[in-house]
Amino acid sequence: MKWGVVRFPGSLDDADALWALNQVMGQEARALWHKDEDLADVQCVVLPGGFSYGDYLRCGAIARFAPIMKSVVRFAGDGGLVLGICNGFQILCEAHLLPGALMRNRSLAFICERVSLRVENAATPFTCAARQGEVLRLPIKHGEGLYVAPAEELRAMEERGQVLLRYTDATGQERDDANPNGSTRAIAGVANEAFNVFGLMPHPEHAVEPALGGEDGLKIFRSIITSVERTSAAASTAASS
């Protein structure tokens, strides 16, 4: 399938995302320049990690106004799949494509480590290749990953199953010392109400080969591929009947 990875000034992980998709997974992924507005025929847009626009003002606050974000908002509104990783997650929150916001880690320190994450909802386009409750190992590297949202909103999100990933220990148990950044309810990744936009602080693109210390990131990308294949299979069945 066709992927577009947006490159903002200050993006860091765009090259790794392209490597994961093209070299490791044999996908057709290309970089999309932040000043362009054309998403061409991509089936999934990836907003990569990094420090877009130097993280000035607030992480993601400036990137939200990049020309390409108009197209990303439209694409998401039409049901297109959007994956925001780390800084990409922050941008999606600032652009109001996802609820909540990401604040400074409770330790005030930049954290770079491998964490355990429990899959809270495996019935989404971003998690369907994982099992419900499965524990994934992915790296995080961020200074601002503490997820917050208004209490009322959080309750509604939990009820709708919009929390897709939660920080846990290696056995899948929630523990305060397994919550690396102090996120509310140990939330590591959330989807929008329509489940076509997903943001997460951990980096699936950094966990796609044994040499990188793990391959659990593949499950996120495989989920997206599976869901796009299912959708196009359903569309062609509908067209031929």
């Binding site: 003002l57 606050a61 909540g100 604040m103 005030l108 102090g182």
Partner: protein, 86 residues
């Protein structure tokens, strides 16, 4: 006009920086310190016909870019620029 915008973490939202500063102040022996919040101070010059229009413009700036209403509150002050209007 000279515009001074004060952005603070919204009340009730965890402010790890404020907490760390509060702890440090107490460690230094400053008694009676509470509810420390660390925010941002933005100052800008704005060409506006009157204070009311300037206030409206600043509110829009805060809603669209200067603050994240999910996690931040703000107040602002507007005053004439010293040396006369621009």
């Amino acid at each position: 006009m000279l515009v001074k915008v004060f952005v603070t973490p919204r009340k009730g939202i965890l402010d790890p920086q404020g907490r760390a500063v509060e702890q440090s102040l107490k460690t230094l022996g400053f008694a009676g310190v509470a509810a420390v919040r660390v925010g941002r101070y933005i100052v800008l010059e704005l060409d506006a016909p009157n204070a009311e229009r300037a206030r409206e413009t600043v509110r829009q700036m805060c809603a669209q870019l200067l603050t994240n209403p999910n996690i931040e509150d703000y107040t602002f002050e507007i005053e004439p620029i010293e040396g006369g209007p621009r």
